[in-house]
Amino acid sequence: MLADITLGQYYPGTSFVHKLDPRTKILATMSFIVAVFLAVSATSYVILVSFVLGVIFLAKLPVILVVKSIKPLWIIILLTMCIHLLTGQGEVIWSWKFISVTKEGLSMGVMMSLRLVLLLIISSILTFTTSPIVLTDGIESLLKPFKRVGVPAHELAMMMTIALRFIPTLLEETDRIMKAQMARGAEFTGGNIIARAKNMLPILIPLFISAFRRADELAIAMESRCYRGGEGRTCMHELVYANRDILAATGIIVLILFIAFLKWGGELCAI
């Protein structure tokens, strides 16, 4: 039941995308997100979608897994679609009583939900192909230059590592507690919203207690191994850029330039 949540779960592999340096992947993901917001025309969306499909293919990820990553947000995506459909102004293409759908609303709705889907998928690809530890190594390394202006890079990265590390543990714990309460006849479906919220208490309370307990134990375990922050700490695996990173970076830069050209190219030519 809870095993269905895939967002933020590593899918092991040895593909080109898996082997990329985490910093490359993080920066590429961020650039792609910028590209998504730059994209306005249908052509640019076709390019973005085919780029994403290409990455999925390169990473050898099962398509179902990637599609599943949309699941947690599909209601929001649907809602975005509906709101744009129903509130758009312009040329009416379909109407029924007071509801009318306009051409502009339709294209806006499709665009906005496509944006959401692309954002979700590209960030899922990042976490599917990068193990949490490597990912935070990458983030720490990227944040290092900002240390001088007071960004606690190491501490942030450590907090993220710990948070990520505990997602599966807490999921497992939830699963176990749910089973234990179900064995005592608890039911979590059915009833109105208040009844359902009340039904969740037998899961949430033990879960919080165990989370606090784990946090306590972890803090003691870290201190007893002399952990005292990032000062003077070295890495076991130093991150090194390879040729494939240059290749990937070129790819994403070309993509961004292309999308930017599609947006502003016309104006540039006009000048």
Partner: protein, 285 residues
């Protein structure tokens, strides 16, 4: 009246790289009145099997029937059948959630739709079984108790449902010897008084030997041995060692003593029995 398991197999995280077969073609029947110990290494499928016995996991293939009701369905009879099987999970104290001990133990009986009067009686009985004084503890917060006491509250929470089949997954893990013995004494009391089936999942061959009449040895998701405890130790020692287990210490010691020339008759399943046998052999009693 029995739990019947017919050819079940179960795969965790099917169709992902993490796919792992936990159970393979397991068939067994557990009758009421039996005390069965399921023993095996970590990852041998013991806990997975236990979770099938009351429908928490649905087998990939095969079926599980409790008193003739297949647990795959959704009807009311299936719900009732599931309520007949109580599971005490590993570290059950981690599932405690209510403000008072009474409320926590009453959770199960209330869910089976009992009237409040009946619930109270069941809570009282359950607390008595696990050795917690009702007047002293019922209105206390379970979170102020010691680990051993919390575990007793959690066990009471399952016993209060008056299950016909009681599954206990490592009830003694992480407890001191005194609490451990207390829990087993109480478990035997429930077992003897209510004529239920007890299924004890454990790592410890000593525990299994001391309490169970029947031994189920799991290895790699399959049942390696299924037989009477005493017979298993007598006849299947080789198989036990093959799956990385062994006979209890008391039997090993008996063998050593015999090799040194002491004539010991019979099979010592517990330390106490062994002491008796030695006394007899030496003519001290």
């Amino acid at each position: 009246m029995s739990i019947e398991v017919k050819n079940i197999s179960y795969t965790y995280m099917a169709k992902t790289p993490f796919e792992r077969k936990a159970l393979e073609n397991v068939t067994l029947t557990i009758e009421k009145g039996e005390f069965v110990a399921i023993i095996g290494h970590t990852g041998s499928g013991k806990s997975t099997l236990a979770e099938h016995l009351n429908g928490l996991l649905v087998p990939s293939t095969g079926e599980v029937c409790v008193d003739g009701v297949n647990l795959k369905g959704k009807g009311n009879d299936v719900r009732l059948a599931k309520h007949k099987v109580g599971i005490v999970f590993q570290y059950p104290e981690h599932q405690i959630f209510a403000e008072t001990i009474y409320e926590d133990i009453a959770f199960g009986p209330r869910n089976s739709g009992k009237a409040e009067k009946e619930v109270e009686i069941q809570v009282r009985n359950a607390m008595q079984f696990v050795g917690l004084d009702y007047d002293l503890f019922a209105q206390r917060s379970p979170f102020q108790l010691s680990g051993g006491q919390m575990r007793r509250v959690a066990i009471a929470g399952v016993i209060a449902m008056e299950p016909d089949y009681l599954i206990m997954d490592e009830p003694s893990a992480g407890l001191d010897p005194v609490s451990r013995d207390a829990i087993f004494t109480q478990l035997m009391a429930v077992f003897k008084k209510r004529d239920i089936a007890v299924i004890l999942i454990t790592h410890s061959m000593e525990e299994a030997a001391q309490y169970a009449d029947r031994l189920l040895v799991m290895s790699k998701g399959q049942i390696a041995i299924d037989g009477k405890t005493s017979e298993v130790f007598k006849e299947q020692r080789g198989t036990l060692q093959e799956v990385g287990l062994d006979v209890p210490e008391s039997i090993k010691l008996t063998d050593l003593l015999c090799a040194k020339g002491l004539k010991i008759e019979g099979q010592a399943l517990t330390k106490e029995q062994l002491v008796e046998y030695i006394k007899k052999a030496k003519g001290w009693s």
